[in-house]
Symmetry: C2
Subunit: 225 residues, 2 copies
DNA sequence: CTACCCGTAGTACCTGGGGACTACCCCGCG
DNA sequence: CGCGGGGTAGTCCCCAGGTACTACGGGTAG
């Protein structure tokens, strides 16, 4: 914590690299230990210099910033934090970068203070986004994870026993009775009994409706989106 | 930008209200115009005072902060921004608050500077989260939306013809072949042909898996409620 | 102690769903 | 002009899935 934060700057434009280097070296607790001109170079230099934080531009020739971020954060033992910097705040970039493992996302018009603060935050293991990006992320998050299942349907799930609920979730994964039986280590007929009771209790006709029911009530959720 | 930012503070603890009031009134561009002791009070005062930003505590007697946030942001014409403040940063609170429409989420241990900065950010229409919360949100976002966005599954839907896609969505609503036939005004056998081709093209076994597929790829979505 | 629920499992039966064909019509494209 | 793909539809066949009914051991609420 008391040691200086070692930073690597990856950007294809020399002016940008030098500008940020000057800005950051002005901070007593931050030291720019290297510069990289593209993604491949960044990966090499990270291996060599072991910086704490990489300031990563997205638009770079050859291996881009997002791909480089992915490769730097992919390995299990990776400890380097990536702070993505870009001129544009296109949604795609942001989401891709975050999925790639970036700890932060700033626009290049950020002030020197903000930049230094961001470096400290990500070095501490936290994350930081430019305010308008945070807003979009929240919006996206809400859109994706909204749909709180609290309807009358949801209630009916409560009528099912624990075992029946278990079977229902397996039905909702597309498993056949035989597969469910194998999974639960019971006879197939037992599964059929459960299935029948589930359908009866929920007032459904067949397993397909049961699967739909499971999704609609939020018992199971789409693993993506 | 030039006008002062009008802030309402909603917290059941008087000490907290007064503390924040003093802190914020020290800022030249921020003015605390009112205080509320619980969610219901906050809703009333917002209607009366029309503040730009509400500092909202989550734990309050009666109508809690999250419910109050929901009611304040629900109406289409709502312009007030909610900045949620809490002592604890439990995940559930954060996600619920963001879904409820909050623009920001800070811990009460934030510095005066951070608080004032946060008020300005949300007043400007952007969003802001405490760093460690940002980190968790990013993690959650990645987890939720990373899985299969551009995966092989999504592509495969493209192989289906228009009619087949139509049939698939009906399958995913739990309809039987006969019902689908009636809906599309064709013979049941025609539906069976479509279903067979759908299963073949998608590499699935039965209509239940097809329904699951439809949900997983986002072709159909849980209708919420 | 009795009654009930849950999970288990069996037998017998019926049908909707799905596979494997074949076939026709229409339309757009080379 | 012929060819191919999409949508339609038919036949034959088989089985997974679902219904109905019975049954039994274990747990627990009354």
């Amino acid at each position: 914590m008391t040691t200086t934060i070692r930073v690597l700057i990856a950007d294809d434009q020399m002016m940008v690299r030098q500008g940020f280097t000057v800005l950051l070296n002005a901070e007593p607790d931050i030291e720019v230990v290297g510069q990289a001109v593209d993604g491949a170079d960044a990966i090499d230099q990270v291996a060599e210099l072991a910086p704490d934080v990489v300031l990563m531009d997205i638009r770079m020739p050859g291996v881009g910033g997002i791909e480089a971020t992915r490769r730097l954060t992919e390995p299990a033992g990776a400890t380097v934090k990536i702070l993505v910097l870009t001129t544009f705040d296109l949604d795609e970039y942001v989401y891709e970068a975050l999925r790639a493992g970036a700890s932060g996302f700033l626009l290049k018009d950020a002030s020197a203070d903000e930049l230094a603060h961001a470096v400290r935050v990500v070095a501490a293991g936290d994350a930081l986004l430019a305010p308008n990006i945070t807003k979009r992320l929240i919006g996206e998050f809400s859109r994706v994870s909204a749909a709180v299942p609290r309807g009358p349907l949801r209630e009916r799930v409560g009528d099912l026993t624990e075992r029946e609920t278990e079977v229902l979730t397996l039905i909702a994964q597309g498993l056949s009775n035989a597969e469910i039986a194998a999974r639960l280590v019971v006879a197939e007929q037992t599964v059929k009994t459960h299935v029948s009771r589930i359908l009866f209790k929920l007032g459904l006709r067949d397993r397909t409706q049961a699967a739909v029911f499971a999704y609609e009530t939020g018992l199971v959720r789409p693993s993506a989106f």
